[in-house]
Symmetry: C2
């Protein structure tokens, strides 16, 4: 395919994309296919000779679309939102064309420098403390990671290196293995599974701290665990505080927990993967109070801030904590400027070496929406969640299972888990809307997350009418 055919096919693809997103409401949100559906539909080997674009695009409709879960349908209420906006898509086209691999400043200076400045822009939108910003010669700064999971892992590894160096400096006879065997990390029992996984990968013990009645980790529970571990000769070194848990969007008590982390010399990482986007609105910023105690902070603009996946924003107060954990410098990656202090080689901030020019997406989205446009997007989602909440409250058969703070409503039919499983089964079999469950303690709960950029009150009301109707038949079947 040469440039002139790309001009033609690219424009057709632009229309295909616009048609898809304009018409997405009319597609069934969850597919009908069964596991293994795709393999029989396509050849068993790649073709030897080139095929025509027309044949491929036909197969998109015939083979791919029937197996797609439509995440951007206004009837998709599952998981959490994932970002989708036209400005981000335009930026991604440009990113693909430039196609640089920005592992070092020299590998493409614009790629590194725009990222640093965009992370400062975003940090200022969140009113992060100055110490997290790169500015001209700050000690902190931001980096785009691929996912919150990677951010948590990177923070844990940096903390592990830091505590190991500190202990080996004080007690040179200690081996790395001895230290690692004693390290303990902490998070709430409501934290995302990626935190547990980071502990596994890092080879350290992760302790799940029992959360309180509001699914929030509190100071007393953390302090008790830390004291016990210290008494047992273990080394507490890392705490993940979750702001906006995946199950029910609860918030750990950062203002209580922060001082403990600082006092006990434990690295404090904040995971606000979903909720973080809301902190650009002044009325939600208080949920981030206490961030000044943290060593690292992360949230996902690719969830709720209209920057398409992947774009996970991570800040640290001391960039040398990250680079100290990862820095390896073979000659083929060195360049003239690297010791100047002014420049950033992001390969030392992350797990992979390669990285795309993802800050273009942030730049396009921030400028084409403006802060006000982004705030309006957040506010609309929160308002729709409260609308769904108020509908629920009018129906005494249902209960709300966690405080509705942002765009997620956790609810269930009063009664057994079995009853709620039956309701969930009916909802996901009908495929008019799509949602997923969670456990809150021993209760099976349904999660209704406001997701699509195009979801409106009418969709929420239709979803509610549908849920009520199915609930009616479940309850009737129960009685029968």
């Amino acid at each position: 395919m040469d440039a002139s055919e790309f001009r033609k096919r690219g424009k057709e693809m632009v229309d295909y994309v616009a048609d898809y997103l304009e018409g997405i409401e009319d597609r069934q949100v969850y597919p009908d296919v069964e596991p293994g559906y795709l393999r029989p539909l396509i050849p068993t080997t790649a073709p030897q000779e080139p095929e025509a674009f027309e044949d491929i695009i036909k197969d998109i409709d015939k083979i791919i679309m029937p197996g797609v879960t439509h995440w951007h349908s206004p009837y998709f209420f599952a998981y959490f939102p994932t970002a989708s906006s036209y400005p981000a898509m335009l930026a991604d086209m440009l990113c693909g064309a430039i196609g640089c691999i920005g592992f070092s400043w020299a590998a493409s200076p614009a790629c590194t420098e725009l990222e640093t400045v965009m992370m400062d822009w975003l940090g200022k939108m969140l009113e992060l403390p100055e110490s997290f910003l790169a500015r001209n010669a700050g000690e902190g700064g931001g980096v785009i990671q691929g996912s919150a999971s990677e951010a948590t892992l990177v923070a844990l590894l940096a903390a592990r290196t830091k505590v190991t160096h500190r202990l080996q400096a004080a007690f040179p006879e200690l081996t790395r293995a001895t230290i690692m065997g004693k390290l303990v990390a902490y998070s709430s029992d409501q934290a995302h599974s990626s935190v547990e996984r980071a502990g596994l990968i890092g080879g350290v013990t992760l302790r799940a701290i029992p959360s309180d009645g509001n699914f929030s980790m509190r100071a007393s529970a953390l302090q008790e665990a830390v004291d016990q571990d210290k008494a047992a000769g273990l080394i507490p070194f890392f705490v993940v505080v979750t702001l906006g848990t995946t199950s029910c969007c609860s918030f750990d008590n950062l203002l209580e927990l922060g001082p403990i982390c600082n006092r006990e010399d434990m690295w404090l990482h904040i995971d606000a993967a979903y909720a973080g986007s809301a902190f650009i609105c002044p009325e939600f910023r208080h949920l981030l109070n206490g961030v000044e105690f943290a060593d690292s902070f992360n949230f996902n603009p690719h969830k709720w801030l209209l920057v398409n996946f992947d774009c996970s924003a991570m800040w640290v107060k001391n960039r040398t904590d990250l680079t100290g954990a990862f820095k390896l410098d073979p000659l083929y990656l060195q360049h003239n400027h690297q010791d100047s202090g002014l420049i950033t080689d992001y390969r030392h901030w992350q797990i992979p070496l390669g990285r795309r020019f993802r800050s273009l997406k942030m730049w396009f989205v921030f400028r084409m929406y403006g802060v006000k446009g982004l705030q309006a997007h957040i506010r609309k989602h929160v308002q729709l969640a409260h609308e769904f909440e108020s509908l629920l409250r009018q129906d005494p058969r249902f209960e709300i299972c966690a405080e509705v703070i942002l765009g997620l409503v956790c609810f269930r039919l009063k009664g057994s888990n079995h009853l709620n499983e039956a309701l969930l089964q009916r909802i996901n079999s009908a495929k008019k809307i799509h949602l997923v469950p969670c456990h809150l303690r021993d209760k099976l709960v349904l999660r209704f997350a406001i997701c699509s950029r195009k979801v409106e009150s009418s969709h929420v009301r239709l979803a509610w009418a549908h849920i009520r109707e199915l609930a009616g038949s479940v309850l009737a079947a129960e009685k029968a």
Copy 2:
């Protein structure tokens, strides 16, 4: 921005991309900017109100392009190639529009199933042993990782879990920390820095085995290290064999090393990040002989197989080895089909949770080029490398420092490192071409990698004439 404006702007962007790539030869390959150039050119905060697309696209030319290293210029000979093709860009547009996060089968069945089948297609193109393919109900299979670094890390973590379970089953009194303190991984002293990093992250000792005169890891050196470690009470568990090293594209002796790994019960991971693409050509397939000894194999179609970044292809013989290392199943990620055996939840195969619909790129590229088109791309690059090699051989001032096997030529002026540093400095100051150096033992060497999809014999000859001219002035300055 609504759909109708996206139709307009998207088509303008398609033309912008085509213009950029058509005209890339006329741009200076390496930018003139100094560290910190970008920050003063843009505002210190994001705008409150939306800005117009026209203003943003103007800033691309004014602010971004002057700071871009043009990786797809035919005068770019640095690092290794990174893929750029129009079919991959078209597929990425579609991927952005569908915008699903394919962490589980249910999250978007097409996303998972196309990936599994594309990895089978690609595995067959490479003539991988059947045991690496997923087929209908195989025990192996492939997955798209973000980078070779992640693939190495994932393999090391899977191997670490496997050996830990095995030892704890035999000796229940052994703690995980005790085992980890004794684990030893091995790679060549020519292996990529990401291998050392994987060892650091995984918290295990990594031993660099001295390579032979051809920069190849050999059986005797590995066996010696393994025997010494076993005698010292340590536990050899993991070997990375590199096919096509970053420095000079040398090949470890897989046919010798494979049997040792199998006999000593060490996980064998093959990293063929760059060279792997060449194995689709029958005349280069012999370089992969011995893959049957491996537990995992990885290469990067996003380097040399025209599938834009990111797309790193990894296969394992036993998928349960990977999923065993990572599997954590909170309720909100569970779905009806997950215990059926027929389905794949790729979140258990990788570090992050989220993942894009990257197999679309493979599908578009494989179909629109056909296997023959991809082979022609590889062959052209190898032929151009040999053309550059033969030009070099005609000039007695230069020496070739490693066998030219694929698309990389390592060369230097006969004489001191100082002399070659001066040559490098002149090349990269002139900015007519761009390349990077490496160390081979104590020698500073220049790497000439055939990179661009559009590089032709004429560009290679111009580059050579330019290098000769600069060499002349360096040598003259030396004598003066």
